[in-house]
Amino acid sequence: MNLTKQLKFAWRSLARDLKAGELRVLALALLVAVASVTAVGFFTDRIGRAVERQAGDVLAADLIATSGFPLPEALFESIDNRPLDSAQHIRFPSVVVNPRDESQLVAVKAVTDGYPLRGTLKLADIKEPAVALPSGTSAPEAGNVWVDGQLLAALALSAGDTLELGASTFTVSKVILFEPDRGQNAFEFAPRVMINMQDLAAAELIGEGSRARYTLLMSGPTTELEAARDFINAEYSDQVRVQGVRDGSPQMKRALDRAQRFLGLASVVTVLLAGAAIALAVRHFAYRQADASAVMRTLGATRNEVIVWLSARLALIAIVASMAGIVIGWLAQLILAKLLAGWFGLTLPAPGVLSPIIGMMTAFIALAGFGLLPIIKAGRVNVMSVLQRDYSGLDSSSLVASALGLVATFLVVFLLSKDALLSAIVVLGVVAMLSVFGIFGRLMISAVRAMAGQRFRLSTAGLQRRAASSVVQLAAFAMGIMALLLISIVRVDLLAAWEQDLPADAPNVFVVNIQPDQVEGFAKQLESQGIESTGIYPMVRARLVAHNGKSIVNDEASEQQLRRARREYNLSFSNTLPLNNEIVAGEWWAEDGSAPPLLSIEQEWAEERGYAIGDTLTFKAAGVETTATVANWREVDWESFQVNFFAVSSPAMLEGLPSTYVTSFHIEENFASATTGWVRQFPGIATLDIGAIITRVKSLMDRASLAVEYVFLFTLLAGFCVLLAAVQSSQGERIRESALLRALGASHKQLREAVVLEFAILGAIAGLLAAVFATGIAWSLSQYVFELPFRLNVWLWVIGIFGGALGIAVAGYLATRRVLFTPPIVALRHAN
């Protein structure tokens, strides 16, 4: 037979297989694998992009390019030629004067039409400052200014008032209630004044050497953004700083990373489970085909022809199931996306084409990895078995089979995660888990057998008799139950821990620029209002001038180093370790004030810049140079929204230098009413409401959690598929056994009891093992992947053991019911 004929023959055989139900479980396993990988892929891709886009609110764009100098014209031209939306703003400090000649230092932002590209600017009419207008994306009209609530209060502005700004006079038309990218410059604490970019020149506000920040905002397709980022970095890295969503707010970055890890975890677990189901089903298929291949060989088919015949059927079923899986996966994500689109308040980006391809590849890799060797063995079955009925050579639990399975696992995980190390860890984890399941499973089955009384003899004898397949089944059950436990309990725990990581009483107000002589009074003021601060910290603004005695500004310095040298840092000093900080290297200094000039540096900052313990750093503050040795590295919980510093020194380094103080705290009441009178009582202080940023991070968490919950539904489906495949894998043996037992006079009741008990015992053992591993995995996930506190959950064990016993007993009974109620003569004939 030539190949075409062989394929046609395989196709006809497949139609018969499907009709006869031979390949139902395998087809289902493949379908679930492809559907779940596709749906998860589609879904995470779309949600991921939507989340990222929403996170873009923080920048008011997907990507921004910022410089202390006017951005080059060539840069604008290049960006205009790309399919990207763009807008600009320029920020600088200035002074405004109201009609009553009262002046105020302000942070001016001149914007072009289209700002913001992401997120919305919430405005209110000056006549009704408390009523938000429908959001829009246009700059103030020419001749108008928009001001924030702080300026409104400070200058007691009302409808019709004008403000002098530079050479121009503007009419105050609107009040800015919310500015999406305000959090970007949390320490730009002066009140906001927003004008149209067209008015900038006439106002003669910026001249050469002005302290202004020029920003180009961009949004559009990811690939284009990446290309734009690369272009700017390549051409203008010396003067322009590019910043994407992830480079921005550390809180948002952490939230995004975690959301992606959760979704990634969901898809990896799903594909592992689906892979296990495929492995079981294909092994079962190969074993079932041993008879047929021996007969085929007897009738004249060669081994290769039989192997082609068997594998072509598998390939064909994989194609058919993949197509169906892709359609189902696409429909599933469509429904989920529709459900979630409302939550995001925006249309989700269209699904990419990569997910169905990955879904299909997953099915083929799993099929080849787990199925190839059993199929080859089935094709090479001893042809004398047609006369002797001996299929002992078919046992595919060889080293080669295991190795192939592991390679397949690695490839599939790598396909999803694109992370070789993670894939290797997953493979090692699977090996360890299956080994433990195998060893302990076998021991436990023997123990149960030894302890069982007469009544359970039949069930435990069944377990013992089918020791090899019982252990395989047990491992599959344990894996399935473990996934279900991870989904149902660990997910909830982890998500709860994540939410708790940003407690309801996280600081939502920052107060900066408190003068040393105001600290005591301000602390008392807070106390009188019942406000508990996270501490009032000194802050010294300084520039870095030397590292290990070598000046930062030197001939060899890179542009990046020069930029760092120009930048002013906020340093603090303290005798004690700041709240929520943890020393990760070195030691904190003596708390009695006797410490020499020492520095404590934030770990990531130190690593990125190469500030080792023992290095010296020299800062210049208010014209005074001061040097200290790096004594330790600190881990800072940026998500806490508390006042944190990259560098904290011992008092000996900075005390005495001009400093201001900063604090943060949580207020329940309205920001404006809580802070009324503070500015008058403590002139110069600036208050900053960051409640909106917190709300945004929290809402991102909520949505990501919801997405994770939906995605885990597929994991659940894959878990059930494993259980189904495992139950079915022993069906042939059960048919033969129950036929024999029925023929020997066993009643329905006895057989039913035996089957239910056997599955219940398997389920309980599997549940116990699953609970052990689920706890271990939950611990390591919370420690190393999500960096969240771990909580031991007793329910994991209770549900694992009892739920496992009950669930597997019911599933096992339902799956084998047909066997039990088949008349013995039919069963015996089938057995033959």
Partner: protein, 239 residues
């Protein structure tokens, strides 16, 4: 299943006078827990074209092993087997399979029908292996000959033992084989059904001029063959 060797084609179809199967000094030893065990001792056998030969003997005497070796399903430890003029010992397993395709039929004690295939599809199987385009037509005609045309769509499980063996006979004869190997063809059937199956088998063999080598403990069945050989102590003796 691919192109047939021309020599086989000629030797199988030339006339009814030649030897279609010959075994010389066949020995089979297997390793067991107590060392090597000799199952067959230097057997000699020749089967002429169109001849029917029965091999009888007690259970475990090695009858099925001889059948397997003669059909090329197994290889002897020593000795030489020629099937349809081809030396089996010089062929690898796949070449032996190709030699059997369409030329050799089998009937087994446990029928060995593929459970997922209907009666018709089971009969089509050997024709599909040889790539016969008229597989369906020929198989239907063959099922009619064995009186099962109305059961052609049934799965093996839906057929009685006798019907299953008749399907197996249709499958064995559908390619008009030169040699039929039968392993206890009535072993799983009651005597009445067994008789009918035997009758059918001999009638089909008669029509096609097929040589038959059958293994049985049934002396009545053996007596219908041209020759009976008895297996004992690993040796074959003429009865």
């Amino acid at each position: 299943m691919t192109s047939q060797p021309q020599a086989i084609e000629n030797s199988a179809r030339d006339d009814n006078a030649g030897v279609v199967l010959s075994g010389q000094s066949i020995a089979k030893r297997v390793s067991g827990p107590d060392g090597n065990l000799t199952i067959l001792h230097a057997l000699d056998i020749d089967v002429q074209s169109g001849e029917t030969v029965a091999i009888v003997g007690p259970s475990g005497s090695g009858k099925s092993t001889v059948l397997g070796i003669l059909a090329g399903l197994d290889t002897p430890t020593e000795g030489r087997v020629e099937l349809l003029g081809e030396p089996l010992s010089e062929l690898d397993e796949d070449s032996r399979a190709r030699l059997r395709a369409g030329k050799v039929g089998f009937v087994f004690q446990s029928f060995q029908l593929l459970p997922g295939l209907s009666a018709l599809e089971n009969v089509m199987l050997p024709l599909e292996i040889t790539g016969d385009k008229d597989a369906s037509v020929k198989a239907s005609a063959m099922l009619e000959k064995v009186g099962l045309s109305e059961r052609s769509g049934h799965l093996p499980l839906q057929l009685s033992g006798g019907e299953q063996q008749r399907v197996a006979l249709a499958r064995a004869f559908v390619t008009q084989p030169s040699v039929l190997f039968a392993d206890e063809p009535t072993g799983n059937l009651d005597s009445e059904t067994g008789d009918k199956v035997v009758e059918l088998m001999f009638s089909l063999r008669e029509q096609q001029g097929t040589s038959v080598v059958l293994v049985t403990h049934d002396d009545t069945l053996a007596s219908r063959c041209d020759r009976t050989l008895r297996m004992g102590n690993g040796r074959l003796e003429a009865v």
